[in-house]
């Protein structure tokens, strides 16, 4: 068979991605029709930049979800090697293709003769899986610590800011090297950090609900117990693997027994996750602290204080909702930054396994042969670029629209 030319490659990729196009069309048509009723999200569809950004982001989200757990869009297995396809150029027919197999390597083969196109799609799932959740955790940590620091000020603020600046003064790459190497993983430090960092969403929810409903104990008590049990279970499932929360060669701290454990996180992904949350939370802390310091001088805060509301009620139900605009914008930007950080980790071969299809690792593997076969590194590079660009444009559109009123 003849190799495909670029027009045919693009056409075939388009056909391969048809489920994504359908999902995107449905999403856009529905959102566009009801945009007046959808608040800030609906307003996004008034700005061209925001729409382009949203399109790029959702493209990768759908690609990740459909290609990852649903296993739809890929043409070949992302890990299997086909002999004779090493470093083949894009559009090359599959050597010795059998009936039922996809007859081409659409974006060529990498230096281990794996299909670049399928790895690209599988890699999207790694990013879509980790980046938003890690950013959300970083926001939980930053908000829970930043609000009291900004609201109370004083010694609490000084010490928390000192700690945040301490982490921020570290060069990110050095921090990654110190945290993500296998030797450090052996000591269990990432597990301790996971124990510490992942408890914040639980604390946040408990304070949030308690400050709202503490005047109605009949509602509050069952609600808090339910939340504590539900989120506590999730928390313990998240931090414990094989029945222990910290397992080193010399000792182990028992956690949730295995039959109660809902899911196990791959230890490599857990370490990456923890370090990304750790690096991001001080910046979020500083933003939230600044916003809280600004907003606490407003009249409605003074009114709430005069009413006799508790400090946590004021922080979470008066200050936080009024800080949502900048926080939502920063959330989008920060997912992009997290994606870049994940790529950096992969680029230095840290954390994830070397055969992992994530974009950073693929770029790292492809850069050695860049002068001869650039396609293996360029495909994930462009993918990463478009996703981060989409997130930045989305943030820009949101900022514009939220400033308008």
């Amino acid at each position: 068979m003849e190799p495909l030319n670029w027009g045919e490659i693009l056409l075939r990729m388009f056909i391969q991605l048809i489920p994504v196009w359908i999902a995107l069309t449905v999403l856009f048509v529905v959102s566009f029709t009801y945009k007046r009723r959808l608040g800030l999200y609906g307003k996004l569809f008034d700005s061209t930049i925001g729409m382009i950004g949203f399109f790029l982001v959702m493209f990768w989200v759908f690609t990740g979800v459909m290609g990852g757990p649903m296993d739809m869009l890929v043409t070949h297995d992302a890990l299997s090697q086909v002999s004779g396809m090493k470093n083949e150029l894009p559009g090359e027919p599959l050597a010795g293709a059998e009936a039922g197999e996809y007859p081409f390597y659409l974006l060529g083969g990498d230096n281990l003769a794996r299909d670049v196109f399928s790895r690209l799609i599988k890699g999207a799932w790694v990013v879509v899986q980790i980046a938003p959740v890690a950013t959300l955790f970083a926001f939980m940590v930053g908000i829970t610590l930043g609000l009291p620091a900004g609201y109370y000020g004083g010694r609490l603020d000084t010490s928390l800011s000192f700690l945040a600046n301490l982490i921020l003064a570290f060069p990110v790459i050095l921090l990654f090297y110190l945290l993500v190497t296998p030797e450090i993983v052996l000591t269990g430090i990432p597990n301790y950090m996971a124990l510490f960092l992942f408890i914040f969403p639980l604390i946040f929810m408990l304070i949030l609900l308690n400050s709202r409903y503490h005047t109605q104990p009949k509602v509050r008590t069952p609600l808090l117990i339910a939340v504590m049990l539900g989120m506590g279970w999730l928390y313990l499932s998240l931090v414990s693997t094989n029945g222990s929360v910290v397992a080193t060669p010399t000792y182990a701290i028992p956690g949730l027994p295995e039959f109660l454990d809902l899911f196990d996180i791959d230890p490599g992904i857990l370490v990456v996750f923890v370090s990304v949350v750790f690096v991001n939370s001080p910046t979020v802390f500083r933003i939230v602290r600044g916003l809280a310091m600004d907003i606490k001088t407003r009249d409605y805060v003074a009114a709430a204080q005069t009413r006799g509301e508790g400090p946590w009620y004021i922080m979470l139900w008066e200050i936080l909702p009024n800080a949502r605009g900048p926080l939502i914008v920063d959330f989008c930007l920060r997912i992009g930054y997290t994606t870049i950080l994940l790529g950096t980790l992969g680029f230095f071969g840290l954390g994830l396994e070397s055969e992992s299809p994530d974009w950073g690792s693929t770029i790292n593997a492809g850069r050695r042969l860049l002068a001869l076969y650039p396609h293996a590194a360029i495909a994930p590079a462009i993918a990463l670029l478009t996703l981060v660009l989409g997130l930045n444009l989305l943030a820009d559109g949101l900022r514009e629209e939220s400033l308008r009123d």
Binding site: A169, L186, I340, F348, A371, A381, L389
Partner: protein, 347 residues
Amino acid sequence: MGLFILRRLGVMLLTALCLTFIVFWLTNLYPNLEKLAKTQGNFRMSDEAVESYLANRGYLQPMPVKFGQWLGVLPGWTNEKDGEVTGRCFDAGTPEEQRDTFCGVLQGDWGRSTVFKDDVGALVATRLGLTGKLMFFVMLVMVPSALVLGVLAGMREGSATDRTLSTFSIASTATPEYVSGVIFIAVFASSAFGLKWFKGSATSAMESVSFENFTLPVITIALYGMGYIARMTRASMTEVMTAQYIRTARLKGVKFSNIVLKHALRNALIAPFTVIMLQFPWLLNGVVIVETLFNYKGFGWLLVAAASNNDIELLLAVSVVSVVVVLVTQLISDIGYVYLNPRIRIS
């Protein structure tokens, strides 16, 4: 002002001390030491052999003691075995009266690199010089072009120029160095596209810089930082352009170019100054990636080499330098902001 600087210096010192202790602690954890012993000695060492190797070299003392010795506030370890005395502060054959008691950072002794078998102080100094060269060219390219971009975009808010330039700066902040570097090498230095304008490796730039070997690394770093500075400049420029005195100048009939260059620019450049100073720590990250990608053996390359081999003393020196860079630039940007902005300076 004096008190402010003094207090900031105090906090800086404390931060640096805390951070070095964290690095010290993490690099001196037992699994790391075990790896160090095995890479330095023999990969098939038994556990006892590792233990005695580490004990002979003073690695198994308590953590605060080791940290004190590294700082130079506690006397260096000595070890007597079979009548031969070894120690931290002297070589095996040194006569007793010439042996130093203290040798640490405070005495100017940064220790020895286990990977490069060289003096850490000298090693870091030469590599810093090489990175300084890179940074100089990056600044030379990045700062003027970012300022021009920002001023042009912010001059007339909402115009077509503004839209185009703003989108460009967003795109440049969305392109991390390892993405743009890979694309640049593939397009301008590989045989696949046929445009062999530049070199994909900057190793030869360590001796002599040429247009061919230094363009790609410099552009790669500059591009990522440029977008951010340009956006800040644009924001501050649009703010200045709506100020009362600009309107007055326009109503007086001053030429638009004169308004921009003489009236607006000076006030619009205060905010970007802070941003440019705060970019240094970010650039440090870019430097690590670009030096690895282009195989330019500067400070960032040294950081990767030290970190991946757990070269404790080299890693400590590298982190001290980078932390000091971060803190000093923060200090300068604060002082410079106060100095440049008369509203703050006079009150």
